[in-house]
Amino acid sequence: MNAQTINPQSLNSQSLPVTTTRQTTSSDRLFLAGGPGFAQHRQVFGPLPSLSSAQLIDELRASGLAGRGGSGFPAWRKLAALDPAARGRSVIIANGAEGEPMSAKDATLLARAPHLVIDGLLLAAASLGSGDLYLYCSGTALDAARRALDEREDARRIQLREAPETFISGEASAVVRSIEKGVALPRDHRKRLTEAGLGGRPTLVHNVETLAQVALVARYGAHWFRSQGVDDESGTRLLTVRAPGNELRVIEVPGGITIDDALRRARVDPASLSAVLVGGYHGGWVPAQAFGTPLTRDRLAPFGASPGAGIVMGLAKGSCPIQVSAQIASYLAGQSARQCGPCVNGLPKMAETLSRLAGSHSAGGPLPATLAQEVRRLAHIVTGRGSCHHPDGTAQLVLSTLSTFASDVDAHLAGHCEEARA
C-alpha cells in the first residue's frame, strides 16, 4: 500500500506555506484590496456604509449569504434572532478559530483582508447597537489581526482573544466559554446563545469569512452578491484545497462550482485522485467518478457532505481510503471535549473498530463480516447524543466512508486491500 500518511497535527494550517492564486479573476472579491493594509482597503472598498438593522437583515436575506464556518446557517437569521429589546446589550464575536486542521481559509483571510472582517463586525454592531465586540482567532492569525485592529480608530472597541489550537475551539458555545472563562469547551445547547451567551447577554458568533461577506453585501447589495454563484449557493466562497504532492491553496471561487473545477482552479490534477473529502473532518467522501458534483448543499447531501467551511481534501490514488478515514476518526476521537458520555466512550470505540477494518490485510485473513455493521451501529449510537455536533460529525465521516468505499470495505473484510493491489 502506498500509504498517504495523515498526521492531522502536522497538517495544521500553521505549519504549511499557503499559496493563493495571484491573478485577478472575476470571482475575486475578498482579496481585491491586494494587501492587508487599511489604506489600500479604504481605497478599494471606500468608507463603511450606514445601514439600519432592518436594512442589513433584509439585504442579507435577499443575498442568500450562508454562514461560512461550517453549518451554513443563513447569516441574516442570527441577526434577526436577537430580541430587538435586547440588542443594545448584545455581544458580537468574529470567530476565526478554525479548529478544523484541514482548513486554512480563515487564517488566510485575516492575513490578507483583515479589514473586511473588521468592517463586517462593525457594520453588524452599528446596525444592532451592540456593545461588546470580539475577534477570536488562533495563534498565527493573531498578529495579523492585532496589526489590523491597531491601524484604525473605529476598531479600538474590538477586543482580541486567542483561540486554543483544538478541533472544537471554534464551536459557538466553546467560543463563548473560552472568552468568558478561558476554557474552550462547548456547553449544553438548550439555552440559545442569541438569548443568553457571553455573561448571560445575547450573543452572536459569526465566522470571520461570513463577516467579510457581510461587509460586501452591505456595500454593494444582494443583487451584486448574487451575480456570482448559483441560487442555493450564492456569492463567492473561500476554499482550502489540499492534495498530496500539491501545495496547499486557498482560493476564492463562485458558489456551486463542481469539485473538478475547484481542483483545477487550485492546480490539482483531478485524475491523480481517487476521491475527495468535502467539508473537512466532519464531512463526507465524494469518489472520483462524481467529481462533476457541484459544491452545493443538496448535491453533496447524498455523500454525507456539505460545502461546510469550504474544505476539499484530495485522496491520492493508491492510498487506502479506509486507512485514511480510520486515522481521521482516531484523531477526532482524541479531540472529544470529554464532557459527554456517548462521545467519550463511543468515538474511541468507533475509531478502533474502523482501524481494525483498515488493518485487515495485515491482520492475516478475513475479518468477521459483522465488523462493518459494528462500525455503523456505533455511528448511529453516538449521533445526536452530545452537547455539540462533534459526535454527529465524526459519525458522518465514518458512515460516508462505509458507503463511498463500500467495495473497499468488502475487500478489507475478505482480507485484502483494493488500493494495495492496484
Binding site: C340, I381, G384
Partner: protein, 69 residues
C-alpha cells in the same frame, strides 16, 4: 396537554440510570449506561401517558441533567 420534550444535558449526565428505570418505555441504556431513545438525540418527545414519570425523572436525576419543556 401540550406535547412535551425531555432534554438530556449530556455534560451533566453521567449515566446513573435512574431515568431509564422510571421511563423504561421511553429510554434504554446504551452499552455505557447512558440513556438512549431510539431515533432521538438530546431531545426526546414524551407521550402524554409518560409525562408524570418524566417529571419524576427530572426531579430525581442526581445530576440534574434532565429538563421537561
Amino acid at each position: 396537554m401540550t406535547e412535551k420534550s425531555l432534554h438530556i444535558d449530556w455534560i451533566a449526565c453521567d449515566g446513573r440510570g435512574l431515568c431509564t428505570e422510571l421511563l423504561s418505555e421511553l429510554l434504554e441504556r446504551d452499552e455505557w449506561g447512558y440513556p438512549r431513545a431510539l431515533g432521538y438525540g438530546s431531545d426526546v418527545p414524551v407521550p402524554r401517558q409518560l409525562q408524570d414519570a418524566a417529571r419524576d425523572a427530572v426531579a430525581l436525576c442526581p445530576r440534574l441533567a434532565l429538563t421537561l419543556s
